[in-house]
Symmetry: none
Subunit: 376 residues, 2 copies
C-alpha cells in the first residue's frame, strides 16, 4: 500500500493516458482530477461521502455552556449553492465514466445536500434503486429547541441505468436481518468509542462514518474481488471494510493527515472471520411507544378522561398528548403523575387508568393493543 501522487498542473483531460488501475492504494489529489486519470468502465462499486455543504452560523453551545465542535473545515465550504451544484455534477460525471456498465454507486448526505445530489444522479442517467435512511441511535440533540432532532442521514443507491444488472445479495441481507427482508431504514450508532480515530485525544476527521454502515453496503452490493472506489476517502473506512470483506479498494483523498491515518488503519485491519458478522448487527431496538402516538393514531381521543386507580385525581387528554388535571396542572403522563403525588417520579403508563368495559384499566393496556396491531 502506498500513496500515488497526482502531479498538480498536469493536464486533466480524459484523453490523456490513464493510470493503470492501482488496486488497494490511496491516490492523492482532487477527486475529479484523479478520476479523470482512471480508465473508463473499471470499477464495480463507488461509495461516496462528499462534503455536505453545511452552512453553519455562529458558534453553538450546549445548554450546559460547553462548546459544540462543528464542521468548519475548508473542504466543506462552497461559495454558493450553484457552485456546490456544479461540483456535484462534475464528480458524479467522472464517477459514471469509470464505473462498469453493471456497476453501481452509493452516496451519503443530509438534507443540506442530498436533494441536489439525488437530482444530479437522476439527470445524469443513473437509475435510483433505493434511498436508505441511516437512523442514528445517538444523534446530537437540537440544543435550542428550534427544530426536530436531526437524527438521520440519507443514502442513495443507484445503478448505471434502468436496464443495468446491478449486484444485490438479497440472501445475505435477509440473513443479516433475522430472516426478514432488509428494509430501507437502518439503525446504527454514530462512530465513536474505540472505532473513532483520534490523535492526541482529538478526532482525526470530523465526520468519520461507522464501519457497520459501509459493511452492510459492501456486503449487499459487491462480490469478493470486486473493485470499490471511494472518491472522498477521508480516514479510509471504506478501505478498511473492503479489506476485511475481501474486496479491492481505491481511495482518493487530498489531505495528508487523513491519508496517514487511513494507511495506518487499513494496514491494521484484518480480514474478518464469519463470527464477526453477527457482532456487526445493531441490537434490535425494543419498540417504544410514546403516549402521544396513541393520541395521534386515535387509540385514545383528545378529551378522554383518565383517573388514578383510586380515583383521587382526574385528568383530561389534550391534543398533544399532555394531560390537564382538574386542579389546572398540566404535563406529560409521567410528569403530571409525579406532580400530583408529590413523588420524584411516576410511571404514567401504570398510574393513569381509563374506563373500559365498566372497570378501570391502566393505559398501558392501550399501548399493548397498539403494539399488537402494528408490530409484525
Amino acid at each position: 500500500m502506498g500513496v500515488i501522487e497526482k502531479l498538480s498542473g498536469a493536464p486533466a483531460l480524459a484523453q490523456e493516458a490513464p493510470l493503470d488501475l492501482a488496486l488497494d492504494r490511496i491516490l492523492k489529489g482532487d477527486c475529479i482530477e484523479v478520476m479523470r486519470a482512471l480508465p473508463a468502465a473499471s470499477v464495480d462499486l463507488i461509495f461516496a461521502d462528499p462534503p455536505y455543504n453545511l452552512q453553519l452560523g455562529g458558534d453553538l453551545n450546549r445548554p450546559d455552556g460547553s462548546h459544540v465542535d462543528a464542521v468548519t473545515d475548508e473542504w466543506d465550504k462552497f461559495e454558493t449553492l450553484g457552485h456546490y451544484d456544479r461540483f456535484t455534477r462534475a464528480w458524479l460525471t467522472e464517477a459514471r465514466r469509470i464505473l462498469k456498465p453493471n456497476g453501481a454507486i452509493w452516496v451519503i448526505g443530509s438534507y443540506h445536500n442530498i436533494f441536489k445530489v439525488g437530482a444530479a444522479i437522476q439527470d445524469l442517467g443513473y437509475w435510483i434503486l433505493n434511498d436508505i435512511v441511516w437512523r442514528k441511535a445517538n444523534p446530537m440533540p437540537n440544543f435550542k429547541g428550534t427544530r426536530f432532532t436531526n437524527a438521520h442521514e440519507t443514502l442513495i443507491w443507484a445503478s448505471m441505468g434502468e436496464k443495468s444488472r446491478y449486484t444485490f445479495n438479497y440472501r445475505s441481507m435477509k440473513t443479516l436481518n433475522d430472516e426478514l427482508q432488509m428494509r430501507s431504514d437502518w439503525e446504527f450508532p454514530i462512530c465513536g468509542g474505540q472505532e473513532r480515530l483520534k490523535k492526541d485525544g482529538v478526532k482525526v476527521h470530523p465526520t468519520q462514518k461507522p464501519e457497520a454502515l459501509i459493511y452492510r453496503i459492501l456486503l449487499a452490493c459487491s462480490k469478493p474481488g470486486d473493485v470499490i472506489l471511494d472518491p472522498f476517502f477521508g480516514t479510509g473506512t471504506t478501505g478498511a471494510v473492503a479489506k476485511r470483506l475481501g474486496r479491492h479498494w481505491i481511495g482518493i483523498e487530498r489531505e495528508d493527515s487523513y491519508i496517514a491515518a487511513a494507511e495506518e488503519r487499513i494496514a491494521a485491519a484484518l480480514p474478518l472471520d464469519e463470527s464477526a458478522l453477527t457482532t456487526m448487527q445493531s441490537p434490535k431496538a425494543a419498540p417504544k411507544v410514546a403516549f402521544g402516538t396513541l393520541v395521534e393514531t386515535g387509540y385514545l381521543k383528545p378529551g378522554a378522561v383518565l383517573t388514578d386507580a383510586k380515583r383521587r385525581w382526574r385528568a383530561t387528554v389534550r391534543a398533544d398528548g399532555s394531560l390537564l388535571s382538574d386542579c389546572g396542572q398540566a404535563g406529560s403522563i409521567h410528569k403530571l403523575g409525579s406532580t400530583l403525588q408529590g413523588a420524584p417520579a411516576c410511571n404514567g403508563w401504570t398510574f393513569w387508568q381509563h374506563e373500559a368495559e365498566g372497570k378501570l384499566q391502566p393505559i398501558d393496556t392501550i399501548r399493548q393493543t397498539y403494539l399488537l396491531a402494528t408490530q409484525p
Copy 2:
C-alpha cells in the same frame, strides 16, 4: 362547505382579481391555476402530497400469484423527468407566492420525486428546516427480492427563507414524545382499516395518507385558527385533521370522485373542544417575568442570599433586582452567572439557588409560584 369551480379557460394571470380567501372549502381545478387566483401572502402552512412520478414497468404479482394494485392513474403520468421538473417548480413557485412571509411548507415524496422536489425548494429560495422520514410500520415487501424493502417516505419541511420566523411548537412535540425531543424519524402504520376510504370495497384513492402523520405536522407547525392549504387534496386527509385541530383549511383538487369523498369525510369529522386543543406551551410563549418583579412584589426580599447549586459562589439580591457577588461583581442574574463562570451565556433562573425547606432550589421555582398566583 362546498366546491367552488375554477372556470376552465379563464385567464390564469397573477394580475387577475384574486378570489377572496374562501376558508374551509374545496376549490376544484388544476392546482397551479387555482393557486394563481389566490391572494398573495395569505396562507400560514402548506401541506403538499404531489404526484410521485412513479414510472412503473409492467404488472407486478405477489409470490402467490395475486395482482398488486399499483398507482396507474393519469395524474401520476409525466412524459419525461424534465416535464416533472417543470411541473414541480411551477406549483412550488405559486405556493411561495401565496404563503405568508413567516409561513412554511411541507412536501411528502419518495425517492422517485423527492430529490427533484428538494432541489427545486432550495433553488426557489425556501430554507429547508428538516427532512423527516416516515417509517412505515407495515410496508409492502419487495416481492421480487431485487432491492431493499421500500419502507419509508420522506417529507421536507421548509420556511420562506433563512431569516423567516416559522412556527414550531417545540413543547408540544416534546410532550407528544414522552418528554424527549421529537426526532426526524417518525413511525406510523400505513393508512388502512377503518380509516381507509373505500367505495364498493375498492379504495377511493391509491395513496391516502394516514391522519396521524398530518396530525403531527399540523400540531407541530401551526396554531389554532391558522390557514392550511393542501394543493393536492385527494380525499381530504388534511382537511379532516385541520378541522379536528381547529385550523382553517383550503383544498385544491381536480377529480370529482375525490372531492365527493373528501366532502363527506370532512363533514363527519368532529372538532376537538377547546380544552383538548390547549397544548403544552414553551416558556417562550408564556408571559415573561422579570427577576426584578419578584423583588418588587416581595416574593424575594432585597438582601436575600443566593448561591449556585454547588455553593461555589454567593450573591446578594439588591433592591433593583441586580445581584452583588461576594467578590464585588454585580449584574443581572444572567450576566453575573455568566461572568462568574466565564461562560458565554447563563440562564440565571436555573443557575441561582435559594434555600427553602432546608435545601437549595432554583429561583425559577419562585417564578413559577408567582405565575401560578397571578395568571388567570
